[in-house]
Amino acid sequence: MKSTENKIIHPLENAGVPEDQRHLYCDASPRPYPALNKYVERFLNWARANSLWILGYGTGCGAIELRPLLTSRFDISQYGMNPRPTPRQSSVFIIGGYLSVKTLKRVIRSYEQMQNPKFVVGLGSCTVNGGMYWDSYNTVNRLDYYLPVDVYVAGCMPRPEAIIAGFEKLKSTIMAGQAEGANEYAERFDWYKSNQKKIIKDWDMPDYNW
C-alpha cells in the first residue's frame, strides 16, 4: 500500500448523537495505513486477495443474483470466497445496485464497521451513474461520492458469472496493490463525510461508526 503523509487528525464532533452520549463513541477519523516493506506487502496482498469474505447484506436488486452465486450452482467458495453475516468479519461489501438514502445510511455504518482490509464492489448501472433510477428522488446516482469503490460490474442485473468476473478483477487489483479504497476513504474522509451528510438529512449517528 502506498505511504501517506502524517496528517493532523482533528477529533470528530459527533454532532448527530445526543450530547450526553457523545463520550460513548469514537471521535477519531479513520487512519490510512502506509505500505510496508515491498515483499511483506506483496505477501499480504496475496493473502488479502485469497480470503475475500463477503458481507451478506442485500442492499438492492443485486441481492437476487447473490443467492445463486453463494449457493451450489455457481458456488463462490470455489473461488475462495464466503458470505459472512456481520461486517466485523467481512472484507468485501457488495453494493447491489441502487442505494436509497435510507439504505445508504446503514451501508455507511456497516462499511465503517468493517475491518481492514476492506473492499467495495458496485453492481450494475445504478452504482455508476444512477441507472434506471437516475431521476428518482430517493436513490443516489454515483456511489463513488459516498464510498470508495474498487470494482464496478456492468449489468442490470449483472449475472453471477459477471459478478465472479468482478471478483477476479478485484483479486488482481488487490494483488497489484491498487485496491486502495479503504485508504482513500481515510485520506478523503472529510470529503466523503460531507457528501454523505449532504443527502442524509437526519444524521443521528456518530460521524465515524467504528
Binding site: G130, W134, D135, Y137, T139, N141, R142, K198, K201
Partner: protein
C-alpha cells in the same frame, strides 16, 4: 353489480361509473365515506380492503382518494372515490374498519401529506427518512430536478439533435422566419 349500485344510490348520494363487468367506481363525498364503507363491508359483503391510495388532481386543487374494495368471493371490485381539498388535506381514518388501513394512511401521510387524525402511528416515518421537501408524490414535486441538484449525475455527457447536426448539409439552412419588423 348493477343492483348493488341501485341499492347504494337509494341510501347514499353517489355517482357511479362502470369500468368493466366486475369493476365499478363510485364517487362519494368525504363526509359519507365512513358510513358508506361500513355499509359496504357489513351489509354488501364487500369485506376486503384491497388498497387505499390517492391521486393528485392538482388542476382541481384536490386529492382523489380511492378505496378499492373486493367482495367476499374476490370476483367483484368496487372503487370508492372521494375528493378532498389539497390544502391542509385531512381525511377521516378508517383504521377501525381494517387493521391494514393504518399502513396505507401512514403512507399517504408521508407521500402526499394527507393527514388521518386518529390513525395509529400516522405521523411516524414509513418509507422515507429525514425528508425535508414537499411530499414527493405530489405533482408539484419535480423528482428529476431534485435528483439533479442532490445526487450529482456523472458529468461529461452531451448530445446533438439530428436536426442540428444536419444543418451542416446546407449553408443556407434558413433562419426562420425570414421576416423583418412586423407591422400590426
Amino acid at each position: 353489480m348493477n343492483s348493488l349500485i341501485k341499492r347504494l344510490k337509494m341510501q347514499f348520494d353517489v355517482e357511479e361509473q362502470t369500468q368493466r363487468s366486475n369493476l365499478s367506481f363510485i364517487n362519494a363525498t368525504a363526509l359519507q365515506l365512513p358510513a358508506l364503507l361500513t355499509h359496504l363491508r357489513d351489509y354488501e359483503k364487500y369485506t376486503q380492503l384491497i388498497f387505499l391510495t390517492a391521486v393528485d388532481r392538482i388542476e382541481d386543487n384536490q386529492f382523489q382518494l380511492t378505496y378499492m374494495l373486493a367482495d367476499e368471493s374476490s370476483q367483484n371490485n368496487i372503487g370508492v372515490r372521494v375528493r378532498i381539498d389539497r390544502e391542509n388535506a385531512v381525511m377521516t381514518s378508517i383504521a377501525h374498519l381494517w387493521h391494514h388501513a393504518r399502513t396505507y394512511q401512514q403512507e399517504l401521510r408521508e407521500m402526499f401529506g394527507i393527514d388521518f387524525p386518529g390513525s395509529p402511528g400516522v405521523n411516524d416515518n414509513f418509507i422515507l427518512e429525514g425528508w425535508e421537501e414537499i411530499p414527493p408524490m405530489r405533482r408539484d414535486f419535480d423528482t428529476r430536478e431534485y435528483s439533479e441538484k442532490t445526487y450529482f449525475p456523472r458529468p461529461g455527457r452531451s448530445t446533438t439533435h439530428p436536426r442540428t447536426a444536419m444543418k451542416a448539409v446546407d449553408p443556407d439552412y434558413p433562419e426562420l422566419p425570414l421576416m423583418k419588423g412586423r407591422v400590426k
